[in-house]
Structures are given as C-alpha cells and as structure tokens.
Amino acid sequence: MRSIIIFFICFSFTLHAQEKQGRVMRPNSRGLGKCSVIGQAPIKVIYALNAKDISDEHTYLDSQVLLIGKGLSKLYSRFLELNDSLHDDFIKRNPNATSIPRIMFSGGRNNQYWSEYQFTDIYSTNNTYTCYAKMPWAMERYNAFYTESMYQQHWTLSDEQLSILGYDCQKATCHWRGRTFEAWFTSKIPTRLGPWIFGGLPGLILKLYDKEHLYTWEAVEIKSGNFPIIKSEYKGFIKDTREHIYKLQVAANRDHLKTAGARDYQTGQLKSKPHPYEPLEKE
C-alpha cells in the first residue's frame, strides 16, 4: 500500500530560486493628469505581490487593486496611485515650486526601483486587455500601450483546496509563455479575472504563483461597493506591440543603463551594469 515512495534528494545548499528583480530606477512621478470616470465597479480586490509577510504591507513588492465592473475592469498599483495623488496634491498646494520630490510615497520593500508588474495599468473590456506600460527612468520616451487577448491560459483543474481569505479555493495549473503557474480560484466570485493578465477560470483567482515562486500574487482584501473606474490621460503614450515592450522591459531589467542609452559623460562610452533577472513571462 505505502510502497509508493516519493524520492527526492535535497542538497544542503538550497538551490532556491531568488526572486530576481532588476535594479531599475523609477521614473519621476508624473501625477495622474486629467482623468475621466469610465465605469463603476461593484467589487474591489487588493492583491499583494511577493509579500514576505502577508499581514505587513511594507514587505510587499507591490499592492495592486483589481476593480471588477460589468464588462470592464482595471488593474493598477495602489502604491503608485498614492504616490501620484500626493504628487498632484503637492503641485496644487505649491503652485510656485520650482522642483518636486522625485518620489512622494515609498510603499513596499523595493520602493526605490521599477518593476513592469507595478508600473503597468491594465484595462480589460470586450475580451481584450489594454496595457499602459510606464517605462523606467530615462526610458520614458518608450511609454506605450499595447493590447493582449484575454483568457490566454489553458487551465487544468485539480482537486486540491485551500482556504484563502475565508473563501474555499480550488487549484488549477497551466503552462503559459514558458512557465508553469498554479492558481487558486474561488467559484463564489463568478468572474474570470485574476492578477496581471491571468484569467479564464470559473472564479476569481485569489492566489497565483509560478512553480519556482519567483512571482506570487495573493489577495489580501475583497470589498464590495460602488467604486469608480478612473482612466487617466496617459499623455505621450504611443501605440506599440507587446513584443517590443516586452523586449524593452526585459532588457531594462537585465541592464538598465545600457538599455536607456546612458553614456559616461567623460568618455562618451555606453555604460553597462548587468543584473540577473528572471521575467515572469519567458517569451
């Protein structure tokens, strides 16, 4: 009966994949600019990205908000929203200021650095995601938006269950863009959305991570109410393709200085400081 023995060798030095975030500098705060309300959302979900301690948001890499409306949804970074609104507030109170602090709100643990998962706003409507990607410092000329089709992942449902935030969640796995992902969804919230551009399950994804645990999204709050979905102007964002933006983002994470085109002011040589980086999507 118990003849099935799972055999695995564990080495004393753990080959544990570290979350490899690049050391990419943030762009300057721009504020929200002109905004318009494009819809209403009855459900607001807050996710923690790569939390070291789920109850302390200072250990999160980012805190992201997913507003679920009828036929429309928005995913954005809460830390950036706070930063942008403080920026706008500063300008309003100090109209004669000649300079502005670069970063107003430092949330999370990597708050000096940029991450494409934090700096991309995703709107979904009509089975399409429109992603507004804000690029890092010295690369703002590449700010762009691109579209992706929804429900790209093909999930395999599994029997395992886990309780997250009081909801009974079921496990599903998929292999997508080079990585294997595990998601825990609850069919009590009948929406096919989830964090980042994951979706397609018969319920809201409350926890999602790749097999190596490089990126983990976990829901920490679910609220119902009437939340306005606001879209800002995105001044200067050009239409681009996902492939081009993806290439720029991975290159920036691997070597920000070289990708931004930074040159040594004395020698004129292109500067380079490579950094190991494991992207969420491998292709």
């Binding site: 118990r2 099935i4 023995i5 799972i6 055999f7 695995f8 060798i9 564990c10 080495f11 004393s12 753990t14 544990h16 570290q18 009855p42 459900i43 301690d53 789920i54 109850s55 679920i68 009828k70 036929g71 449902l157 029997d159 269950q161 935030l165 009081g166 909801y167 009974d168 079921q170 069919s187 009590k188 919230i189 009948p190 929406t191 096919r192 399950l201 018969p202 319920g203 829901a219 920490v220 709050e221 679910i222 609220k223 119902s224």
Partner: protein, 595 residues
C-alpha cells in the same frame, strides 16, 4: 494480420472506458436576453469544480464532464445574476437556466494573519511567518520564534524553562528524543507551532493539580498528513591526509596518514504522520566527524523509571584532547538506525515503540613528548604515544503503552538497553637520557583492551485513578542492570624480557525496585495526600584480578599469579509512610509543613 489485431486491440484499450457527459443549454433572463454567466459542474456533495464553460454571445454554453457519481450539480453564476444551482442526473442532456438580475453579495474580507495568536494557555506561532529562505527543517524555524530557544545539544526551552513534552499532531512519538523531529521534519510541512503552557498531559489530573510545565505541539499542514515523506542526503569528499611522524619518534610502524579517504555522509529519513499512526525511521551515517547520536539525546523521560547503576570503576588511559572542535578531530565511522512508531488503539490508548541502534568506530591518536634539561650536557627525553580505537554498538529500545482517559490513566514502559562496546589502546612509552652517558630507562609497548558490554532492562507501570474528587496514584518500577567488564593491560618491555600481563574481571549487577502509592483527596482549597513508599536496591559486585608478580624475600620473582577476588552484595531496603497538606489556589501553592 497479427500486427493489425494487436494494433486494434491497443486502440480498444486506449479508448476511454468512462462515458463522457455533455450538458448544454442556455442562460437567459426573463426577457430572453442572454446573461453573462459562467456555468460550472461539481459532483454532488463536493465543491470541487470538474468542468466549466462561459456562455457565448447568444447565451449558449456547452459542458463536457467525466464523472463517476450519479448526479451532478450545475451552477450558473455571474456578477449581475447571482448564483443559480440545479442538481441533475449524470447523463447527457439539455439544461436551460432562467436567471434574474441580482446583485452579487460578497462578504468583505481582509487578511489578518497574526503571527502569534494566544488561545488560553496556548500560543500559536505561524511557521510561514517566521520561516526564511534557507530554513530547511522545523528546528531552524523554531530558533527564530520569540520565547523559544534551542540550545546546541538540541534542548528546547520556552522562556527559560525546558519543555516537558514534545508532540507532533498531539501525539508524543519520540518520547523525549525530539531532536529526531526538529532535525528532520521539513519546515514547509509544519503549519503551526503551539506552545502549551501549564500543560498537564495526564487527563485525569487536569484541573486537579497545578503545573507550570510547558509543552510544544507541531501542527502539520494538510499536505503533509497521511503521506510518506522520504528525505535523502548524500555527501562525499576527500581530505588531505598528511604523513605522520613526530619529532624523533614515529608512531606505530612507519608513516600512517591521519584521517580516512574518501569522506562520506549519508542520511535517509522516512516520516509518516497520520491520524492514528505516526512513524519516523531514519538512517544516518558519516565519517566526517559528525556526532550522529546527538539527535538521539533524550531530553525528558516519559515516566520515572527506577534508577539503575551498575558500578564499574574501570577505564583505559586515552590520549588527551586537543581543545579543537570535535568535528575537526573525530576520526570516525558512525552509523545509526532509528525506528519510532506510534499506533493509536481505540480512542484513548497509544502504543509507542522506539528503537535505535548505533554502530560506531572511533579512532584517536595522541603523542606527548617531554624534553628536559637534566644537566649541562644531558637531556631527559620521554615520550608517550597512544592510538585509541573504540568500537561501539548500542541498542536502545523502548515500548510504551498508555491509556489517557478522563478518569483513569495507565502507562507501562518497558525499556531495554544493550551495549557491546570495547576500547583498544596501543601505546608506546619511552624514556631516555641522552648526552654524555646515555641511559635507556624503558621502552615499553603497552596494550590496553577493555571489553565493556552492559545490559539494562526495566519495566515501569504508572496508574492514576480518580474516584470523584479523590485521586489514587500507583507507581511500580523494577529493573536489572549488569556490566560484565574485562580490562586487560599488557606491557611489553623492549628491555630484556620483562613482559607482564594483567587481567581485571568485573561483574557488576544492580537489581532495583520501586513502589509507591499516593492517595489524594481535596477538602475545599486544601489537598491532603497520604502515601506509602517502598524501595529495594541490590548491588552485586564480583571481581577477579590476575597477573601480578610477587617479589620474594630472596630476590627472585614469583610469577604464580595471585588473584584478588571480590564477591559481595550490598543491599538496601526502604519503606516509608508520608503525608502532605497543601493549600492550592490558582497561582499559589503552599505545602504546609508536613510530618
């Protein structure tokens, strides 16, 4: 023809034996307009989704599901239509939903995972909150929890107090040898570490006698329960073994390299934790100087067994220590096998078997040299070099039965320990006067051989019975220990034929028995205790010494061996009656001066 038959047979076998059920239909509202919905299938009785589909632009859906159950639960749900559930038979059919506009009601939730939760006398530490990346075993995470200290020898203390019990899933498998659990259970398998303060393991005594004992309980994650987990570790390497030669004397014959090559270490640990059964079986072996028996240190004993000491004051002279850490100087080949099994019989009874066997051979070498100025042109050079090899075979078994009921507690522990050890020391002692007039004072090879097996058997029984507010406590323990030791010392002198050989035989025995019974009854806040205590302790010692030579009066030597014999028994018997009066109130216990 043959290949086509085989091929077609394979195809038939490959076809799905299970029939697939197809359920299709539409989800429409009262006006016939389509509703944006997700349709899911679950087997009746469970909430696990087997298949799902989304309605298309016309409101139609199609589900394909493979299930053995005879009925299925089909749910149509959506953000604006709420949830509608229908239970149908498991066969292909058409199923339509008529839904009404309904706002989805959600319960508002926020994550609250507190790191430490207090529950009466229980403190819950969440392992996930304290675990860091390089923590592999639960012992590594315990060190980080505030209040819990783990000392070098594995002893766990909470707020300075050593724990009295270590449970895994409320069962004490290891009976005090919890190093085996903290050093081998994976941190990722444990969900919570509970610290139980004022812990009384005997249910019959709970609420009757105050206690400030602390216990730790590990609560495993669901995935770790009921599965066999096997951890394996293999390591190998080599070491630079240099030549050995010291000063003017080389040890034994020629140059012997210190240390063995190749170096290896291996561990196989199998663990199983289920609701009625637990098992930890492991093998550890190495020759890199790690002390495998450290995890077997018993930090508390499950029961007060009678004390058995077989008196044997013999020993060999060994090389003195270097002061360096043991790991750097241990030249060993050690193996240990340990099997621990707990079986829950009935609701309140448990049967526990712990067995461990250690086999080790350890080698030590030491040299000491002294070079003294004797006079202006003479030096006294003396040196002592020893090679010490010890072989150890230790078997320790423990069989425990206990029944922990609300009104009665019974425990019986049978212990059997056996050791088959021997020590072997070869040494060379020389003493020379060098210089103008050299004299050799002695050049001896000394052999010491100490054969020291020992055996200890004991059985302890403990019975606690409540009669209303009165408690009867009965304790009976009896045991036998013996040590038949032999020490042989031989001195071969390299000077003209003076060799001697001494032989000391010693057989030491201890038979001991312990009986005590207590009867406690309570009068309000006072508790009155009457007891009878009896103890018998018998020590037997038998010795025989041979090999001494006698110097006769006329100067010749009498080589006839004279033996020195001992054969005696030293017995003590004790019987006493005692009484004790205590005033107990929560947090305050004052025993009144008892007679």
């Amino acid at each position: 023809m043959k290949t086509t038959t085989i091929f077609s047979l394979l195809i038939i076998f490959c076809l799905k034996i299970q029939a697939q059920t197809v359920i299709e239909g539409s989800v429409l509202d009262a006006q016939g307009k389509f509703g944006d919905a997700i349709v899911t299938v679950t087997a009746k009785g469970t909430s696990i989704v087997l298949a799902f589909a989304e309605t298309d632009t016309k409101g139609d859906y199609r589900l394909e599901v493979n299930s053995q159950s005879d009925s299925l639960t089909i749910t149509a749900a959506g953000m604006s239509i709420g949830q509608q559930v229908k239970v149908v038979a498991n066969r292909s059919q058409r199923l339509n939903f008529r839904v009404k506009e309904k706002v989805l009601q959600l319960k508002e939730v926020k994550v609250h995972a507190k790191k430490i939760r207090q529950n009466g006398d229980t403190l819950n530490y969440s392992v996930g909150a304290y675990q860091q990346q390089d923590d592999r075993t639960i012992g590594d995470v315990l060190k980080r929890m505030p209040g819990i200290e783990v000392s070098d020898n594995g002893c766990i203390k909470f707020n300075g107090k050593s724990i009295s019990k270590f449970y895994v899933e409320d069962m004490d498998l290891l009976q005090g040898r919890y190093g085996l659990a903290t050093g081998n259970i994976n941190a990722k398998d444990v969900g919570l570490v509970q610290v139980l303060e004022n812990h009384q393991p005997v249910k019959a005594l709970q609420g009757r006698t105050p206690t400030d004992d602390v216990a730790i309980n590990l609560k495993l994650r669901n995935a770790a329960k009921g599965t066999v987990a096997v951890n394996t570790m293999l390591g190998g390497g080599g070491q630079q073994s240099g030549g050995w030669g010291f000063g003017m004397r080389s040890l034994s014959d020629g140059q012997n390299p210190i240390g063995r090559n190749p170096l290896w270490t291996a561990e196989v640990v199998g663990m199983y934790f289920a609701k009625r059964r637990q098992n930890i079986t492991l093998y550890k072996g190495n020759n890199i100087g790690d002390d495998v028996s450290q995890e077997l240190t018993s930090h508390y004993s499950g029961i007060n067994a009678v004390e058995l000491v077989a008196f044997a004051p013999l020993g060999v002279v060994t090389p003195s220590g270097s002061g360096l850490p043991q790991k750097r100087t241990f030249d060993n080949q050690s193996h240990i096998v340990s099997m621990n099994h707990l079986e829950k019989i009935g609701k309140q009874s448990e049967l526990t078997l712990n067995m461990s066997y250690l086999h080790a051979s350890i080698r030590q070498e030491g040299v000491s040299e002294a070079d003294r100025f004797y006079s202006s042109n003479q030096r006294l050079l003396s040196s002592e070099s020893l090679i010490f090899v010890t072989h150890m075979n230790n078997l320790s078994t423990n069989l425990r039965y206990n029944r922990n009921g609300e009104n009665g507690f019974i425990a019986n522990v049978l212990k059997l320990d056996g050791e088959w050890n021997n020590d072997n020391v070869q040494s060379q002692l020389t003493s020379d006067l060098t210089g103008v007039a050299p004299i050799n004072y002695g050049d001896n090879r000394v052999y010491q051989y100490f054969h020291r097996p020992s055996l200890t058997v004991s059985n302890t029984m403990n019975l606690i019975q409540n009669y209303g507010k009165r408690t009867l406590d009965l304790h009976f323990s009896v045991g036998y220990a013996q040590r038949p030791n032999t020490l042989m010392v031989g001195v071969d002198s390299l000077l003209p034929q003076t060799s001697v050989h001494y032989n000391q035989e010693l057989k030491s025995r201890n038979i001991a028995g312990d009986f005590h019974t207590n009867f406690t009854f309570h009068l309000g806040l006072f508790s009155i205790d009457y007891g009878v205590f009896a103890n018998a302790n018998l020590h037997g010692i038998k010795t025989d010494l041979s090999g001494f030579t006698n110097l006769m009066a006329n100067g010749t030597q009498n080589h006839t061996s004279q033996s020195v014999l001992n054969d005696l028994w030293y017995n003590t018997y004790e019987l006493s009656l005692n009484q004790q009066y205590k005033f107990e109130q929560a947090g305050c216990v004052s025993p009144l001066p008892a007679l």
